[in-house]
Symmetry: C2
Subunit: 342 residues, 2 copies
DNA sequence: CTGACTTACTTAAACGTTTAAGTACGATCC
DNA sequence: GGATCGTACTTAAACGTTTAAGTAAGTCAG
C-alpha cells in the first residue's frame, strides 16, 4: 500500500503538501495540485485511516449498542442507520447486548477503545450509571438514545410518543363504531425500569375513551407479556366475558397476531364482529388475512434522524444539556378494522 | 486518558517495560511487574487501540457485509457472530448492503480502511470480481462467506446443504404417510447467480420421491417468489387440482405460512387433511397454529463457526486455497405434520 | 532600495504504541 | 581473573498521518 511519502517523492514535494492537497488547502498552486493528484492516482494511494485517527483522535465511525438485534424494530433502525452513515463516510460498530445489562460495560469500553465519534444506544440495554461514566470519560463523544429515556446531560433521546399512539389507535376504533373497546396491555413495568412509556399506551387508551364519553370498564383490560401466546389467551378471556368487547387495542403486534388467531378460532369475522388494532407494524402485520391495522413506529425516521443529529453534533460538539425528541407512530389501516372496499 | 508514558514515569521504568508487562513478556522481574501493574491501576491506563493498530497493522475488528439485515436468518447469524467475537475481544464492523451490488465496492473499501483482521460476507451481496480484488489487495485478511459459494483461493464458504434438506423434509412427509407430495419451489435462479443452491431443495425433493418409489408429477410442482402471498396462491392452485396433494414441501417458511393460511381458508385440517413442511425456521414458524414443521437453518452454528474459523485463520494466516464447509438443516417437527399428542 | 507582506511551500514534532538492538551487571566456568 | 552467558532492563526508530512553525522567493508601498 502506497503512503503519503511515496506520493510526495513521486511528485517532488513534501508530505505536508500532499496532505494539503488531500485536504483541499487553499494555498497549493494549481500545477502542484495537479502533479500531486496524478501521483495519487498513479500510486493508487489511499489515506491510512488508522494513522489519521491516531493524530486526530477521531475514529470516523460511530458505535451502536442494540439490546436485541432479533427484534425487527431494532433491525430496521440499524439498517437505516447503516445507510445514513454511509452517506457521511462513517462506518458502524455494532454490539448486540442481548438484553444482558452486564455486557453494557464491556461494550461501552469497546466503543471507547475504537474511538468512535458518536454513540447510539438502541433500546433498553445500558444502565444510566454506566452511560454517565461514558459521558464523563469521553466528553466529546455525542450520545443518542433511541426508545429509551435518559436524563443525562449531553444525551439526546429519540422517543416515540406512546400515549399519543395509544390514543390514536383507540380513537380509530371508536370512529369506526366501536362502543366497547378493550385493551390487551403489556406487562407491568418494573419499578426500576426507565424505559420510555410502553405503559403510556394504556394512558392514551384511557384518554380516547374519556374523550368519546365511553365509560371505562376494568374488566376489559387484560395484561399480556408482549408474546404471541399471551395475546391469544387474553383475547380468549375477553371473548368469554358476559358482554364481550367489539374492538380491542393490543399493545404490540405480536400479541395482536395471537389475538387475531384467537378471534378466527372463535368464528368471529373481522372487522364486522370484532376490530383489532396492534402496535409496531412488524413486517408480518401486512401478511395475515385480514391484515392487521396497527400503529407504525417511525423506524426509518429514527435511524436517519439519529445519524443526522449525530453528524451535526460531531461537528459542533456535544450539547451540554439533555434533550428529547418525540416522534409519532402513524396509523396503518388494514383489514382488521376496515372491510375491504372492492 | 493516561498513556504508557504516564505509567512508565509513575513506576520508574521505560515504556518498553510497560509494554512488556502488558504483553506478559517473560523477562520482567516480579517486583517491577507489580510496580507497573499498580501504576496501571492507579492511572486507570488503557492501551490505545488505534496506536497499537498503526504499529501492528491489525484492527482488532472483523468486518461483516450482509445483504439484508432485515432477513431474520441473517440477523441471527450476525447476532451469534457478535457474541462469539466478544469472546475473542474483537469488535464488529457491519454494513448492510441492502442487496445493492454497487455498494459492494464502497463497503469493501471501508473494511480495508478500517484495517479489519477478517471479513465475513453474508448472503448474496458481493460480486466475485470485487471480492477477488479485495483478496489481492489485502492478502493477509481471511475471508469467510456464509450461504454463498465463491470459488476463490483463500475464501472459505460456509454452506447449508439444501439438497439434503429438501430430501429430509420430503422424506419426513412420506414417512408420515403422504403419497402425493407436492412442492412449492422458489423462483428459478438467474443464470449468473452463484448463490449456493436454494434450487437444490428441489433436487432433494426429487431424490426422496424416487427413493420411496413415488412417481414424480410435474403438476405438483409450483413456483413461487419466496414471499407470503405467492405461497398462498400456489397452494390454492394445488388444492384445486383434480387430485390434490396430501402433503406439500415448501421451499421457505414465508411461503409456507402463506400456504398454511390458504389451507385453513380451504377448510383443510392440518395435519390430517394436508401436511406442510417449510424451510428456514423463522421465529414465527413456532407461533402459528398449528405450528409449522420446518427445516431449521443452523444459524447459530454458522455464526460461531465463522467467528472461530476466522480467529484461527487470523493466527495462522489465510489459507491459500478455497474450501467449503457443509452444514445440515435439521428437521423441526410441529403441528403441521404431526397431530398433537395430548 | 528597504522593509513588510504574501505566496507556496518545507521541516519536524507529535499522536501512542511495538520491537529490534543495545547495555549494564551479576553469575558461571575453566 | 578474564571470557562468556543470562537477566533485566533501556534506547530509539518506526508505523502514516496532521499541523504548527519556519523559510525562501516574489510583490509592493514608500
Amino acid at each position: 500500500m502506497a503512503t503519503m511519502k511515496d506520493v510526495a517523492s513521486r511528485s517532488g514535494v513534501s508530505v505536508a503538501t500532499v496532505s494539503a492537497v488531500i485536504h483541499d488547502a487553499d494555498w497549493v498552486s494549481d500545477s502542484t495540485r495537479a502533479r500531486v493528484q496524478r501521483a495519487i492516482e498513479a500510486t493508487n494511494y489511499r489515506p491510512n485511516h488508522v494513522a489519521r485517527s491516531l493524530k486526530t483522535r477521531r475514529g470516523y465511525a460511530i458505535g451502536a449498542i442494540v439490546s436485541d438485534l432479533t427484534n425487527p424494530f431494532f433491525t430496521e433502525v440499524v439498517r437505516s442507520l447503516s445507510h445514513a452513515l454511509r452517506q457521511h463516510d462513517r462506518s458502524l460498530f455494532l454490539c448486540d447486548s442481548d438484553h444482558q445489562f452486564d455486557l453494557g460495560a464491556t461494550n461501552l469500553r469497546m466503543m471507547q477503545d475504537k474511538q468512535v465519534d458518536g454513540l447510539i444506544v438502541i433500546g433498553d440495554t445500558v444502565r444510566p450509571r454506566l452511560l454517565a461514566k461514558f459521558l464523563e470519560e469521553a466528553p466529546e463523544v455525542p450520545v443518542i438514545a433511541i426508545e429509551r429515556a435518559y436524563d443525562l446531560d449531553g444525551v439526546c433521546c429519540l422517543l416515540v410518543d406512546s400515549e399519543e399512539g395509544g390514543y390514536r389507535a383507540t380513537r380509530h376504533l371508536i370512529e369506526n363504531g366501536a362502543t366497547r373497546v378493550a385493551m390487551i396491555n403489556g406487562p407491568e413495568e418494573g419499578a426500576g425500569s426507565t424505559t420510555y412509556g410502553r405503559a403510556k399506551r394504556y394512558e392514551g387508551y384511557r384518554r380516547a375513551l374519556n374523550e368519546a364519553g365511553l365509560t371505562f370498564d376494568a374488566a376489559l383490560v387484560e395484561q399480556g407479556t408482549f408474546r404471541y401466546e399471551s395475546g391469544k389467551a387474553a383475547l380468549n378471556r375477553l371473548l368469554s366475558l358476559p358482554t364481550p368487547p367489539d374492538a380491542v387495542f393490543v399493545a404490540n403486534d405480536m400479541m395482536a397476531l395471537g389475538a387475531l388467531e384467537a378471534a378466527r378460532n372463535s368464528g368471529r369475522n373481522l372487522p364486522h364482529d370484532l376490530m383489532l388494532v396492534g402496535y409496531d407494524d412488524i413486517p408480518l402485520a401486512s401478511l395475515t388475512s385480514p391484515g392487521l391495522t396497527t400503529m407504525a413506529m417511525p423506524k426509518h425516521t429514527l435511524g436517519t434522524t439519529a445519524a443526522t443529529l449525530l453528524h451535526k453534533q460531531i461537528e459542533t460538539g456535544r450539547p451540554t444539556t439533555a434533550s428529547r425528541h418525540m416522534f409519532d407512530a402513524t396509523l396503518v389501516v388494514r383489514g382488521s378494522t376496515r372491510a375491504p372496499t372492492p
